[in-house]
């Protein structure tokens, strides 16, 4: 029995409601209540099923209990933020149960991009007591002139799934918004709800830099997790785990509801199609991922909620939150890449708190058997991985300054103080803040500015929008999620056919009429492009191309990478399945296995191109940087590189000429010299710059809309990037792009560490074909093109061939 103190006193009507359900208020729920009453910010870390959301809302429910005294004043009392719209809807349903059954005088509403505009208007005029929304909708609300009135009495803000938000710029933006809220309502308390993470204090500082209590729920039982045993061994290379379909169907039959996670949307599509080809019992199985149309996804979600599905093939789109009760098995197809995410996915099975979650790992190929094995060990050891978070990015700050300007004039001093109260920006220097403000106000260009080159003006000590009409455009561009350019896919019909989903524009560009591809588990035939929509017809039974989708691309954590390299050093592998042990032995026979103190480089021809595989095991960022530098040196040496792909353990470069002597490519001084010059001009930096330019407000998102209408008014951000590099190399956005690159992409110090460790011991093997270890590299997404003489040669050859074919040359 918990001791009842004033801090943990539960109003009787709420206590009775718990009793009537046969529930007990849990320890962490009481502690959350105590923290709220002590007026402290709090972060709750708990597994799925621990009653986390209720713990977050319990203090609010208690405030409104009639027996606790007079009801709080009308107006917004508690704001709840979740990364997903659907989650807010789900929480509303769950919250309404106690509110209605206890009879609490609380109005709960949700707000997102889908909320009808008349309701949005009403919400601003008369806010509910509890508003459930997303970071983007909150940012938008804060940009309105009436924000001070809407948020004046706000008591609590609850950030759900804060661990997921902290992984991206959405989290940085949200924390800036929280500081803004605290300015508007000084008594405001911040509450974070998180799944298990490796460094709770860091997450607490992110939420509230000025002292945030950390509460941890009692852990549930250890998960029941294993590798799925199959009759057929996994292939040498290949993704998607289709070899395991019979065994997976068997598991689906034995369980009530199974979630089958894939790492990419393309793999989920291929797997789903093949699963149905073998689904002789016609088990009801659906597919769910972020590139499917909303109608398609909602249909699957509804069927799932109604218990009509036995399994769902899905991607990260189901990583978060919605409570679907009866899931009793999670299958992870493909290596989990990251132990923390694996543990969180496993938690999707069995929401009953005290029952162990059950999960099976299905490696897609032999290399992944090794990865899965390392991940299982890590889960059993209770070690979680994660990279420390860097300081808040400045492009997000620039957008926030614009947002504040939309709402009301401000002084630089006050805004700087406010921004510094956001965790990610606690260490921001005034100089950096002023640089961001200058960029927002005038563009921050070295070229002397003119009167018209002003977005913000400074009068009587206050910064304000030069043209108040600009606010509408700024609001349209709020948000930090940058979409890859995609095209909608529809069934061809005279009346605007059924929407099926979307594909990346770059993929659509490779299609010619008659080509087939997979979407939503169906094979469709490309017919035409009409008003930037891909029109297709159904074409069952044809062998499809694989569509590319911009799903989240996961990187294997450093911790897992190191475990794998260690495993390679064993003489034999009794713990691994025989087929995988044989595969590693074969690699050792035809080539070598990578060693910590040497660098293995393989060179071989494949599919008409020369390939170079470099096994550096330095992590994806460092391997990518290494690839950028090596391809530059190859370009100089006339080796005509065409592109590369980097994984956590290796880099694969392809080109027109073979590399016979790689040692000169790896000279550290030359690599370092190349870093500054080359990093600037490459495709990775341009990609980073584009995102930064959109977030910081240099270019408008709506331009993309105009592009889709087929107008020629817009141009590539690559042009802006090259222009700034040439004429204004110290510009803020270039600095931000470099910072992002250093944080996310470069990791040059790890290349230096690796080369120091290796000390010139480079083993270059010239081989006649792809090696066992290199085979999985061919499946990696995110291939990066190298623009150089190799590509020019290809363009010239392709054009000549086309001219010849057309009888024109």
């Amino acid at each position: 029995m918990e001791r009842v103190t004033p801090a943990t006193f539960i109003p009787p009507e709420i206590g009775d409601w718990f009793d009537a359900r046969g529930w007990r208020v849990r320890r962490h729920q009481l502690e959350m209540l105590a923290m709220a009453r002590a007026g402290r910010d709090a972060l709750l870390v708990a597994d799925t099923g621990a009653g986390k959301t209720l713990a977050g809302f319990l203090p609010t429910l208690c405030d409104f209990a009639p027996s606790a005294g007079p009801a709080p004043p009308d107006g917004l009392h508690t704001l709840y933020i979740s990364p997903l719209k659907a989650l807010a809807q789900d929480v509303k349903r769950n919250l309404l149960t106690p509110i209605e059954e206890i009879g609490l005088p609380i109005r709960v509403e949700t707000r997102s991009g889908d909320t009808p505009s008349d309701r949005k208007k009403r919400q601003r005029e008369r806010p509910p007591h509890i508003l459930l929304t997303t970071p983007e909708s909150l940012a938008l609300l804060l940009s309105y002139e009436d924000a001070p009135r809407i948020f004046a009495g706000l008591q609590r803000v609850i950030v759900d799934e804060i661990h997921a938000l902290a992984d991206s710029k959405r989290g940085d933006q949200l924390m800036l918004c929280l500081s803004r809220l605290e300015t508007l309502s000084p008594g405001l308390r911040r509450v974070g709800l998180s799944a298990t993470v490796e460094d709770p204090p860091a997450l607490a500082r992110f939420l509230s830099p000025t002292g945030c209590a950390i509460l941890t729920a009692d852990p549930g039982p250890n998960p029941d997790i294993a590798m799925l045993e199959t009759e057929a061994p996994p292939p040498w290379s290949g993704g998607g785990g289709r070899y395991a379909i019979p065994a997976i169907l068997e598991q689906v039959k034995r369980h009530t509801t199974t979630l089958i996670f894939h790492n990419t949307r393309a793999q989920a599509e291929l797997f789903f199609r093949d699963l149905w080809l073998q689904n002789e019992d016609s088990l009801p199985i659906g597919i769910h991922h972020g590139s499917l149309s909303r109608e398609q996804r909602e249909r699957v979600e509804t069927a799932m909620t109604e218990g009509k599905l036995r399994a769902i093939v899905c991607t990260g789109s189901l990583d978060l939150g919605i409570d679907w009760g009866d899931v009793d098995l999670v299958i992870q197809v493909g290596a989990p890449k990251n132990v923390k995410r694996l543990v969180q996915r496993i938690g999707r099975a069995n929401h009953r708190y005290n029952a162990p979650s059950k999960a099976l790992l299905v490696p897609a190929n032999r290399f992944e058997v090794v990865e899965c094995h390392a991940a299982l060990d890590a889960v059993r050891d209770h070690t979680l991985d994660g990279e420390p978070r860097g300081p808040g990015p400045k492009d997000v700050l620039c957008q926030h300054i614009l947002l504040v300007a939309c709402s009301a004039p401000f002084t630089a001093d006050a805004l700087y103080a406010e921004v510094s109260r956001a965790g990610p920006y606690a260490d921001l220097t005034r100089r950096d803040f002023d640089a961001c403000l200058d960029f927002v106000a005038t563009g921050g260009y070295a070229l002397a500015a003119y009167d018209r080159w002003q977005r913000l003006q400074h009068t009587n000590g206050l910064w304000h929008l030069r043209d108040p009409r600009a606010a509408a455009v700024i609001r349209q561009n709020l948000g930090t999620i940058i979409d890859t350019e995609t095209l909608k896919v529809r069934l061809k019909s005279r009346f605007g056919g059924t929407p099926l989903g979307e594909v990346e524009e770059a993929f659509a560009a490779t299609l010619t009429p008659g080509d087939t591809f997979l979407i939503g588990g169906e094979v469709v035939r490309y017919e035409s492009l009409r008003e930037m929509t891909v029109e297709v017809t159904r074409q069952p039974g044809r062998e499809p191309k694989v569509a590319t989708f911009n799903g989240t691309k996961f990187a294997t954590s450093t911790m897992l990478t190191e475990r794998i390299l260690t495993m390679f050093q064993q003489k034999t592998w009794p713990d691994l399945p025989a087929h995988t042990a044989e595969w590693l032995a074969l690699q050792r026979e035809v080539s070598r296995l990578p060693q910590p103190d040497r660098l293995l480089v393989e060179s071989f021809p494949h599919d008409g191109r020369e390939h170079l595989a470099i096994y550096g095991f330095a992590g994806r960022n460092a391997m990518q940087t290494l690839a950028l530098l090596i391809t530059k040196r190859m370009e100089e040496a006339g080796l005509a590189p065409l592109g590369f792909v980097a994984t956590d353990y290796a880099t694969l470069i392809w080109g027109l000429e073979p590399v016979t002597d790689p040692a000169p490519l790896f000279e550290l001084d030359a690599l370092r010299d190349g870093l500054e010059g080359w990093l600037g001009g490459n495709a990775v930096m341009k990609r980073t710059f584009r995102a930064t330019a959109i977030i910081a407000g240099l270019i408008e998102r709506s331009h993309q809309g105009r592009r889709k209408s087929g107008r020629q008014a817009t141009f590539s951000t690559d042009i802006l990037y090259d222009t700034l590099r040439k004429y204004d190399p110290d510009h803020l956005l270039l600095r931000v792009t470099r910072e992002e690159a250093e944080r996310g992409l470069v990791d040059f110090s790890r290349i230096e560490d690796m080369l120091a460790r290796v000390q010139g011991r480079i083993d270059c093997l010239r081989l006649t074909r792809v090696t066992p270890l290199a085979a999985p590299l061919f499946l990696e997404p995110s291939k990066i093109p190298v623009q150089g003489q190799g590509r020019e040669r290809l363009v010239a050859e392709a054009a000549e061939r086309l001219m010849r074919d057309a009888g024109l040359a």
């Binding site: 005038t442 003119y450 080159w453 770059a506 592009r707 107008r711 020629q712 010239a796 054009a799 086309l802």
Partner: protein, 220 residues
């Protein structure tokens, strides 16, 4: 002057023409250089309208390119095929150094500003202003009409080959469409119905880039 290796020479209405890799058109027999859609002052126009504050360097970048082409081809006549300025106010707002630079390029040359949809009306920069210009067998105007022997711009065509999209010329037996020459200009894919209808089935797309590369015009 012999055409450089990187250019593409062709015949239109019996005139010997050269597509330069920069996107300019050279007509040696008439000592004429033609460029289209410079869109000078685009960043200023956007800033004036309260939109994005784009880096204000596109005038410099475009003039550098034009300067190099003029230096190479030494034309007696330069034809700017319309949309030379992003709007008429942009022409008025040109910075002094850009104005002087243009004046230097124009000195001693017959300089023709063809009116475009962005810059309809005279600009106070010198040169001749015309709706269109006929020289021998060729007519220069901003937007293509069904006329024969016509050189136009306006559409900013771009074509994709080997995974990259590049601005391109479009050429058939009767007409040539120039790519946009200006630094801040986007493109219209040649698969767009307007261009597909405008150009004859045998049309070529001549890609700009390190070299002018001809290919059959991609069809839908």
């Amino acid at each position: 002057m012999p055409s450089p290796m990187t250019a593409y020479a062709f015949l239109l209405a019996k005139a010997d023409l050269i597509a330069l890799p920069s996107g300019a058109l050279h007509w040696p027999a008439q000592q004429t250089l033609c460029v289209s859609d410079l869109h000078l002052g685009k960043s200023g126009r956007m800033a004036r309208r309260g939109g994005s504050l784009l880096p204000p360097y596109e005038v410099r970048a475009t003039l550098e390119k034009l300067d190099a082409d003029i230096d190479r081809t030494k034309p007696a006549r330069v034809i700017c095929l319309g949309d030379s300025f992003d709007d008429l106010a942009a022409a008025g707002e040109l910075e002094d150094h850009a104005r002087l630079w243009l004046a230097r390029l124009m000195a001693g040359r017959d300089w023709v500003w063809i009116e475009g949809n962005h810059d309809a009306g005279p600009v106070e920069i010198g040169g001749t202003h015309r709706a269109d210009l006929t020289l021998g067998p060729l007519t220069f105007r901003h937007i293509a009409t069904p006329a024969i022997g016509e050189i136009s711009g306006h559409y900013h065509p771009k074509a994709r080959l080997g995974g990259t999209a590049r601005p391109c010329f479009l050429l058939d037996a009767d007409r040539l469409i120039l790519p946009a020459y200006g630094h801040y200009t986007g493109g219209l894919r040649v698969e767009d119905p307007v261009l597909q209808t405008l150009m004859q089935p045998q049309a070529l797309a001549i890609l700009t880039g390190p070299r002018a590369t001809p290919m059959p015009m991609p069809r839908r």
